[in-house]
Subunit: 187 residues, 6 copies
Amino acid sequence: MSVSAIGYGAGTADLPGQPNVLRILIGAAAQAEKGLGATEEVAVIEANLDDMNPQIYGYFLEKALASGALDVYTTPVQMKKNRPGMLLTVLCRPESVDALMKLIFAETTTFGARTYRAERRVLPREFVEVTTGFGPVRVKVSRVNGRILHVAPEYEDCKKLAAERDVPLQQVIAEALRAYAAGGKTD
Amino acid sequence: MSVSAIGYGAGTADLPGQPNVLRILIGAAAQAEKGLGATEEVAVIEANLDDMNPQIYGYFLEKALASGALDVYTTPVQMKKNRPGMLLTVLCRPESVDALMKLIFAETTTFGARTYRAERRVLPREFVEVTTGFGPVRVKVSRVNGRILHVAPEYEDCKKLAAERDVPLQQVIAEALRAYAAGGKTD
Amino acid sequence: MSVSAIGYGAGTADLPGQPNVLRILIGAAAQAEKGLGATEEVAVIEANLDDMNPQIYGYFLEKALASGALDVYTTPVQMKKNRPGMLLTVLCRPESVDALMKLIFAETTTFGARTYRAERRVLPREFVEVTTGFGPVRVKVSRVNGRILHVAPEYEDCKKLAAERDVPLQQVIAEALRAYAAGGKTD
Amino acid sequence: MSVSAIGYGAGTADLPGQPNVLRILIGAAAQAEKGLGATEEVAVIEANLDDMNPQIYGYFLEKALASGALDVYTTPVQMKKNRPGMLLTVLCRPESVDALMKLIFAETTTFGARTYRAERRVLPREFVEVTTGFGPVRVKVSRVNGRILHVAPEYEDCKKLAAERDVPLQQVIAEALRAYAAGGKTD
Amino acid sequence: MSVSAIGYGAGTADLPGQPNVLRILIGAAAQAEKGLGATEEVAVIEANLDDMNPQIYGYFLEKALASGALDVYTTPVQMKKNRPGMLLTVLCRPESVDALMKLIFAETTTFGARTYRAERRVLPREFVEVTTGFGPVRVKVSRVNGRILHVAPEYEDCKKLAAERDVPLQQVIAEALRAYAAGGKTD
Amino acid sequence: MSVSAIGYGAGTADLPGQPNVLRILIGAAAQAEKGLGATEEVAVIEANLDDMNPQIYGYFLEKALASGALDVYTTPVQMKKNRPGMLLTVLCRPESVDALMKLIFAETTTFGARTYRAERRVLPREFVEVTTGFGPVRVKVSRVNGRILHVAPEYEDCKKLAAERDVPLQQVIAEALRAYAAGGKTD
């Protein structure tokens, strides 16, 4: 495996309850310029669960994110003895594996979990605030070589405005996108 | 199941909870001849489960089939509070609804289940036995107006031969299909 | 179909943000005694979505429950043009269909939704509070003819204690079940 | 259920290979004005398949749409004997049930299928063409009481432009939305 | 990849038809004491299947477990040409890869399969037998530093008693858990 | 990872729009003879998407296959904030990772994707043409040590004949299999 440059950090900004960690995106500048993102190493942890009360998952997800997981998700799978089980997947930095394994063994019913490493490419991102008719919304933007690649209005901001103003959430998201495109950034 | 002549329930008792239509067991021969199958009424029972140990499903399935269910299956769904739940579906004849509801309330964790009626079209079927190089296999055949519609080797027969002869299951199934096509029926 | 008595209500007690509606479970007493639950009519609303930002679902779910839905869930489906879509299902009382249809049309991207009726059987339920080593927990119990059918510790109570006491959630649930079995009810 | 007016038709405009049928949306005008859509009756056909080569599904989908289906989709389910099966669902007008049942029996391996009726609410829709930097795009719009509810750029138009101009599909869709919002309609 | 200590073995005890292999859990004792489990290397084998009769899966699963697989499961996926396919995953010890690959090529329709290695953490486990009102049940327990982490009644024991005594399976499981908690171990 | 022999190539022949690349299957001949397939190294790329319009997937899949992907598929997963997301997986040769990462960043909404390597075993395959009553069909065959392992009629050929002759697709596939078994090869 040819991981030429590894960096840690890059916590996803929209995870609530997560400390706003210092982001040190090392990654080869040359690679980033090619639109391929900066490179870092991540650990993937997986456990197959076929005897757990599904109520536990929602709680586990929150605890895992608060314990340093970069992402957590479940995949429905079909297991032995005709059991509709779940594959639980946790992505984290290599140095968080022990803490998250411990959490898995404490909060879920599994007697075993597995882990392997992967190379992760992360696009550069910046946050700008735009003004919509409903209020201000932060927008996550990825810009590569001056070209805009992605524009993602922050979900929590949009949700808050939709609830406060009693307008459809999709309308708030759409207006934030238009505001960004129109150059209506406030910072 | 060798349903040679069918006729339970009315064809048009569409939405449950609606005016009680007269149930006329049609099973129109004319319809069957058009390749549309005979008509019967079935009940569909559904329950959403978000707090049950998945080990229960395999056991429930066997008990439900033994208690008169025509079919039982689970569908992975995403429920409130980020719970990966299951939709449990049981198909049965209308007169079996009470027995199966009772089973659902006894064996699963649900506090509520729902049911509605549907019209079911069933193709005529007959069983013939074919001879393969591995041994005899029953084959389920649907014939409409003299034309063969489906040919399905019995799974249990094929599985038994595959295990006994130590050959791939798909090879046994393939040979049973060829034997049928070649007219190698033993009855 | 013999729906002899229909009652409305029976809001699921653990839905946050939902008004604690008066529950009038009419249902045939005779049927309830047989362990089959009381009967009520519910509406099922379904919409297939193949062009919606998945962020909307979590928000929609909360709004739908606050607007009178009895339950809301999504099922992953495979749609035309190789689109991994979602089937959105809302269960509600018949008189809430219009309000929830309006919500679906406002908050999701669909141009069409369908609805049908089903008969719902609901087990009687009562709430008791038990004392665990971590604190008090409400337990939802279904008792039919003096026999306990289901015992379900309230998720929100258990979650709160697990977080406060920093113990695994499954341990709190297990202890609440043991406390109930041991007769350690506080009311 | 108070289905005051039932209409047939309303084929979804973006189904390729489907005849452009005359749409007669009867539906109570009053209801439509309330943003609830026009009412029509649809049939839902379902079949559980646990022994079919998955290659058949893509072909079946195209044939079903060409034979009058309003929509077709598959849901992964877990069936008896630990089989990962599929629930095949076809939505159609009541008068198309026979033709689609016949297609299901001819093209799939099932020996039985079931059908029930549902009420469908359909939003009014109109098509306008907008001009983007990449070329013209038709946009499907739903307008209720003068208020825009949904704006959906036609997938086939966007896909064609994305391929021709070698730009990301999401960029074409985003620009079509902006063009519509800016009033840049060409008709 | 920093796999500091690798062990082979640790067959999951509840796999029927599997030889009761000698378990040599090497793994760093220090790590096990921290509640992180012993470390071993496992192989993950994956194959995407889009043209296989789903009946084969149940049979394959049994054969794979009998051939040394530690676990086997299927995940519904959406593949090219609108095919609802399956991802077949087999977990095994590195020395079993060849045997299981051979089985996959013989029993399934795939022309290719892939494999990679992962580190697996396994909790220590012991079996105790408890006495319930329905009969004896073995319970799998994980104890770390004297603290009980998991308590799992053996499914086959509970299933057997539920069937013999005609009581709900969940009731047998619940009583086995209570018996263990009450110290009612028989060994 | 002990990849003893690595080869590149082996493009799956039934991917339309893909250049018919030179296949150099290196792989140990000894291993191939044992029925284990030739060995090559592949890269697996994965991205979790929780805010993307599902319409994009079908388009992405075609572009990815045209850009050198060996396979592409999506898996429904449950993500944070109760979002029904998708895991997008791309399999490719190691030298295609950069091109496909670039495509993922351009066409999807993700800000990050991960990749790891796996060893792939590929069965030898050859194409023969058989004559059916409907017309000629190419058949992909895998032969190991003179023994036929798999026989797979080409989907596109069968689909074309089914449409032209207006016969069920499964009938064309079945007849192609029988023609091969009967030795009716045309080359």
